[in-house]
């Protein structure tokens, strides 16, 4: 059976050019980048070339890029590192209810360490109001952490405005850019953020690769303790082939950003239009806001997304709903409930996230399959009024 993949916000396949770059690096660039000899120097040279590719994607200086093991580590390094480095007696953090667990649970850890945390709520369109961030600030706020684009809805947050408010108040600004990098043009200078996290496997690099932008002069405590790698921010022998893969993926994303975004917006709109035309009592979550080009999140009244997702997978269409818990079962998305959706509507929602491999004819097949599956579920549903 042919399978079509519409879950690119979960992860992306490793692209051909990244596979080739990494395979070449695994064969040829195996030296320790910290070694003095020529093997080490060769590895160091390639590592720094990759760092420049990342810097180009984020519009920062290469020395402001710290390689990490992924988005979760980048978020933890930013949030825990920035707050732990503050010498203030009372410390306060402002974040939002729609952040990824990598930020929310890092904040929970800080609470256990005696730090005060405020979670700002979002409106029904999944947007953070900069004024509510302003109201949440306290004299001892040391960090504001707001994501660039939401993983569930794709809604883009007013990060530039929030960063200005944070920095005026003397707080550092972290932005989780895991769902934005590679999809939106990112300019950390223009945004005015101090810390920005990215994850390679969201833009066609392998898993286990990420980076954190750390603005020059920003003090953060490392998570790990070891050698003097990555300017002491991140000890551990550098994963040079991984960095090369991440750099290659960043280069492709930077070069193709505008054209790929335009193509994906068209497919996304085709998908939303097609589903809404075919399926009554449905709607787009976060549809009114600026969104990443590839993400569509729709609710379908009267159905449960769990059998819908399984039924679609059995028909060869991979989509997602909510968050996976440790067993692999799904839970209603905390993002959708934070937007004010009822539990039923959150449980009736499905996320479609498009990417490089998707085509217009795949989207047509998806519309047909979802239309059939929703109609089938509604026929079985006592909760859905058969009008």
């Amino acid at each position: 059976m042919q399978s079509h993949y519409f879950d690119h916000n979960a992860t992306t396949p490793v692209s051909l050019e990244v596979r080739e770059a990494m395979a070449e690096a695994l064969s040829n660039v195996w030296g320790n980048a910290s070694s003095v000899h020529r093997f080490g120097q060769a590895a160091r040279q390639r590592l720094e070339a990759s760092r420049r590719q990342l810097a180009a994607l984020l519009s920062c200086q290469p020395k402001e890029v710290v390689f990490t093991s992924g988005g979760t580590e980048a978020d933890n390094l930013a949030v825990l590192g920035a707050v732990r480095a503050s010498r203030r007696e009372r410390r306060h953090v402002v974040t939002t209810t729609i952040e990824h667990p990598a930020v929310l649970n890092a904040c929970s850890q800080l609470e256990r360490e005696g730090v005060e945390v405020t979670c700002v709520e979002v409106d029904g369109g999944c947007r953070v109001d900069p004024d509510s961030v302003r109201r949440a600030l306290r004299p001892h706020t040391v960090l504001v952490s707001v994501m660039h684009a939401n993983n569930e809805t794709g809604v883009v947050q007013p990060v530039g405005e929030i960063a200005r408010i944070a920095r005026e108040a003397g707080a550092l600004m972290h932005c989780d850019g895991v769902q934005a990098a590679g999809k939106l043009a990112v300019d950390v200078e223009a945004l005015g953020v101090d810390l920005y996290s990215i994850s390679g496997h969201k833009f066609y690099a392998p898993k286990g690769l990420g980076a954190l932008f750390v603005r020059q002069g920003t003090k953060i405590e490392p998570l790990f303790h070891g050698g003097h790698h990555e300017r002491d921010y991140r000890p551990g022998t550098e994963n040079v082939p991984g960095a090369i893969a991440l750099g290659r993926a960043a280069q492709w994303a930077a070069e193709n950003l505008a054209s790929e975004a335009a193509r994906l917006v068209e497919l996304r709109d085709q998908l939303e239009r097609g589903l809404l035309a075919r399926i009554p009592d449905a709607g787009v979550n976060g549809g009114g806001a600026a969104r990443t080009p590839n993400t569509a999140n729709l609710w379908f009244d009267g159905i449960d997304s769990e059998p819908l997702l399984i039924g679609l997978d059995l028909r060869g269409f991979a989509v997602s709903s909510g968050a996976a818990c440790s067993s692999g079962a799904t839970e209603p998305s905390h993002v959708l409930t934070a937007m004010g959706l009822s539990k039923e509507r959150a449980k009736s929602s499905l996320r479609f996230s498009l990417g490089r491999s998707n085509t217009s004819s795949q989207v047509e097949e998806l519309i047909e399959a979802v239309g059939q599956a929703v109609a089938h579920l509604r026929r079985l549903s006592p909760a859905y009024a058969h009008a």
Binding site: I303, D304, P307, L308, I310, G311, L314, S326, S327, A329
Partner: protein, 368 residues
């Protein structure tokens, strides 16, 4: 996706894994589904490492997934935690607090496995389900009714827990192990090379660690912020003489001897619990004998209704040897009066009375 897809309820145990293996070998298109029913980590003090009865533990999901991968079948975990708490765990606790002794497995069968699970399976495209229950489903060609019969392995028979199944539910279910004994199922599991072939059998109440339901209820009270003092009360004899104190009626079930904490000349047993007064009434073994009972919310399987008195063999506990009795219809069609030929020990409110004619399940109801 095939039209005749069957969803196999996979718990990660040897029985349901063998069902998946058997059907797959026969070429039946199947999808494996595991129900996530309960999160044991909610009450960590209750289930220390190595304790038994960790239902829906990550280990069980891991085992079910390993079996699905071994067979090469599609496999998913479905989240029923909210439903299970609402429809099984809370009623289970409420029943104990009301002085009855509930059977959560029957509630789970009625409201989860043969209701929500059927619905989710159908929603995903599987119109029928298969489970690892030890029971058989047949069809009465004369009446067209679906029948439930006891398992070939009488020691493992689970029909006592399945008396609530409707005709619709039976028509969409199959129990492929009904004709086998447990040792045969283990042999089959080994033959199929299933990674769980040697796994221990699960215990009776899956979400209660070590079978200590009273400790579970206390831990749930703590989690929900319910004060425990409110459940304390007195142990009394038939004449109301106070013999001692107890920590809550939910610690007691009719016929129980242990844990009363009273020294008496002769063995004393729980005769009844009175939740209204929080009293537990104790007495001698003979006082436990009852010749009749009334069953409520009766569900009929082999027959459409009880039109006239008829003979049946009646089980009042899972391990109870079916006792000969007469069934009498009452003015309320959902109630049946049972009169045993010989008085039975410890007729326990909250348990089921299941009526048999040979290996055929006539129906059953809840003991009042």
């Amino acid at each position: 996706m095939p039209d005749d897809l069957i969803a196999v309820a996979m718990s990660g145990g040897v029985d349901s894994s063998t069902v998946a293996g058997m059907l797959h070998r026969r070429g039946v298109p199947i999808v494996g589904l595991t129900m996530q029913l309960w999160n044991q980590r909610r009450m960590p003090d209750l289930s220390p490492e190595g304790s038994t009865g960790r239902c829906c533990s990550l280990d069980d999901v891991y085992d079910a997934r390993a079996v699905a991968q071994h067979l090469g079948i599609p496999y998913y975990v479905v989240n029923f935690q909210d439903r299970f708490e609402q429809q099984v765990v809370r009623p289970f606790i409420d029943e104990y607090l009301a002085g009855r002794t509930p059977i959560p497995c029957t509630l789970c069968n009625n409201f989860i496995k043969f209701d929500q699970f059927l619905e989710v399976a159908a929603g995903a495209g599987a119109s029928r389900i298969a489970t690892g229950h030890y029971a058989r489903i047949t069809r009465d060609e004369a009446t067209g009714r679906h029948q439930l019969r006891t398992s070939a392995d009488t020691a493992k028979d689970q029909t006592y827990f399945l008396f609530g199944l409707t005709q619709e539910q039976l028509s969409r279910s199959s129990f492929p192990l009904g004709g086998y004994t447990k040792p045969q199922v283990r042999d089959l599991a080994r033959e199929l090379g299933l990674p769980v072939a040697e796994k221990d059998d699960s215990q009776e109440i899956c979400f209660v660690p070590n079978g200590d339901y009273a400790a579970f209820i206390d831990a749930y009270f703590d989690e929900q912020g319910i004060r425990r003092e409110a459940t304390r009360g007195e142990l009394v004899d038939r004449d109301g003489h106070v013999l001692g104190e107890h920590g809550g009626v939910h610690h007691f079930t009719v016929g129980q001897r242990r844990g009363l904490g009273i020294a008496a000349g002769e063995p004393l047993y729980v005769i009844a619990t009175e939740p209204a007064t929080q009293r537990v009434i104790v007495g001698r073994n003979e006082e436990l004998l009852r010749a009749r009972l009334t069953a409520r919310d009766v569900n009929w399987i082999a027959i459409a209704a009880l039109d006239a008195p008829r003979r049946a063999a009646v089980r009042i506990r899972n391990k109870h040897l079916a006792a000969p009795a007469m069934l009498f219809p009452t003015a309320d069609a959902a109630r049946v009066e049972v009169r045993f030929d010989e008085p039975q020990r410890a007729v326990t409110p909250g348990q089921a009375a299941v009526f048999y004619d040979g290996d055929l399940v006539l129906g059953g109801g809840w003991i009042e």
